[in-house]
């Protein structure tokens, strides 16, 4: 790990001031940042410890939504009674990720900002456009079993590793930011970006900005939802493919559908056209299959990950079936039914 200046921020304004200038990194749970520093992938000149900031509560919003402070841990969020009752999709996705120890440390904002687990990004001896812009992509033509099948570019085929973010994407969460230029909000879809020719940018935050909160709009997907994560081990592994599905069903027909995919792209993948296509449909195999085809018609493998296309198709169908039946995947149950 490189040597750095450590600054403990006492207020949001303090933190924003300290984050100005190049190579400053905010430290929250540290589960990804400290790891990346040990690998010399990230070498901050200054580490700004934001753990003392008053951003550790979950507030009820007047419209029935929730505003989650950026420092709320993954565990606190997953087991919060309001989240379990009203946003069980989010609770389930969180519990599908990492381990209990990591979830105790990792924070809400930090989860959005975690970096890809592409092997080459983590290995400074290899070329990687995300780590070192212009150096090339070792995953293209390399070992790419875990890489993207949607939205990738000639510069980067890395995937975003989060489970929580897949649920947040499906739930249309809002990201609250604060920086030297003031406060602003971004829709969840606007927050993360596709790699295009600038894969060094995972998201659309401006330099020196801080995530202060994630807002969950009021919604009712607590009956018909599921989060299915398919991975190489039964637990504590990143997704090869994951699907968050949420439906509203009235009089035997789908009136609203939300679907987000993890493990397949540089950001949680939403396809609003495919979601629209489910509206008014009877929730059956043919509707689910058409939806999966619509999402994946432009999916492209890069060799070792070709299997993910069929895996994603089947996982989408299975997730929609579980959501429609109101039988969500229990993350301790290792059989996907």
């Amino acid at each position: 790990m490189n040597r750095f200046e450590y600054v403990r921020a006492d207020s949001v304004a303090d933190a924003i001031r300290a984050l100005e200038g190049p190579d400053a990194q905010a430290l929250a749970g540290g589960t990804n940042l400290v790891d990346l520093m040990k690998y010399d992938v990230v070498r901050p000149r200054r580490v700004v410890d934001i753990n003392r900031l008053p951003l550790r509560t979950i507030e009820a919003m007047p419209d029935g939504g929730l505003k989650i402070g950026t420092l709320v841990s993954n565990s606190e969020l997953a087991w919060d009674r309001r989240v379990v009752k009203r946003y069980p999709l989010l609770a389930s996705a969180i519990l599908a990720g990492a381990s209990a120890q990591l979830r105790n440390a990792a924070t809400t904002g930090g989860n959005l900002l975690q970096r890809t687990r592409c092997y080459y990004f983590y290995d400074p001896s290899t070329a990687c456009n995300k780590r070192e812009p212009g150096s090339g992509c070792s995953a293209i033509g390399g070992v790419n079993r875990i890489h993207a099948i949607l939205g990738a570019s000639d510069s980067c085929i890395a995937v975003h590793p989060s489970d929580m973010c897949v649920a947040l994407a499906a739930l249309d969460a809002i990201v609250h930011l604060e920086g030297a230029g003031g406060r602003r909000t971004l829709s969840f879809s606007e927050f993360h970006r596709l790699p295009a020719d600038r894969p060094q940018h995972d998201n659309t935050m401006r330099a020196g900005e801080l995530i202060t909160a994630i807002e969950l709009p009021a919604s009712d997907f607590s009956e018909n939802y599921t989060y299915i994560k398919v991975r190489d081990r039964l637990s504590f592994a990143f997704a090869l493919v994951s699907v968050a599905a949420a439906l509203r069903i009235e009089d035997g027909a789908i009136v609203e559908a939300r679907l987000a995919l993890g493990g397949v792209a540089h950001k949680p993948w939403r396809d609003r056209g495919a979601e629209q296509g489910l509206r008014g449909k009877v929730p059956d195999q043919s509707a689910f299959s058409s939806c999966a085809d619509a999402i994946l018609h432009e999916a492209k493998g890069c060799g070792q990950n070709n299997f993910k296309i069929e895996l994603a198709r089947r996982t989408i169908i299975r997730a929609l079936r579980q959501a429609a039946a109101g039988t969500p995947q229990d993350q301790a149950d290792k059989v996907v039914r």
Binding site: M1, N2, R3, F4, E5, Y6, V7, R8, A9, D10, D14, A18, L27, G30, T31, V34, D35, M37, K38, V47, D49, N51, S75, W79, A98, S99, A100, Q101, L102, N104, A105, L234, S235, F236, Q331, A332, D333, K334
Partner: protein, 169 residues
């Protein structure tokens, strides 16, 4: 905003296994290295040093965490419990006793982390079945493959009301 006086480290106060310690530490030192190198509490093990194996699991303010991913300076004022602090009055913690009873180890390297993790699991109170114990212990890898006996040991303590002791404290 206190800034790091560089060089020379930063002042840090921790309560480790009930003993208050005033320390000076460089900001890049992890809690794991502080415990092992400076405090000579080598019960906490360094395995992968990347948050993947769980051998370094300790309790910070009652919660289980991977000490290898925590910068020590960020925990100023915290209460730390390591494997050395679990037994009381020379009596093994119920989980330590259960691990012995169930022979829940072979080489023993992962055991301090397994036990601290299990203490955290019982305090969290979210595991009610063997499947949930296994899922919630997935952050602790045992290279010898003693998982069956580890789950047995934790299940024994859970069934015996593992929370009673914590609640009484």
């Amino acid at each position: 905003m206190p800034e790091c006086p560089s060089p020379g480290g930063m002042p840090l106060t921790l309560t480790v296994n009930g003993v208050r310690r005033s320390l000076t530490v460089d900001p890049w030192v992890t809690l794991l290295d502080l415990l092992r190198e400076q405090l000579k509490l080598t019960g906490t093990k360094k395995g992968c040093d990347q948050g993947q194996c769980g051998a370094c699991t300790i309790l910070i303010d009652g919660k289980r965490l991977n000490s290898c991913l925590v910068l020590a300076v960020s925990k100023d004022g915290a209460e730390i419990t390591t494997i050395e602090g679990l037994s009381q009055n020379r009596e093994l913690h119920p989980l330590q006793a259960a691990f012995v009873e169930r022979d829940a180890f072979q080489c023993g390297y992962c055991t301090p982390g397994q036990i601290c993790s299990a203490v955290g699991l019982l305090a969290e109170g979210h595991a009610h079945s063997r499947a949930e114990i296994r899922e919630q212990m997935s952050g602790n890898i045992c290279r010898c493959g003693a998982y069956t006996n580890i789950a047995d040991a934790i299940e024994d303590v859970l069934r015996a009301g593992g929370l009673a002791r914590e609640a009484a404290e």
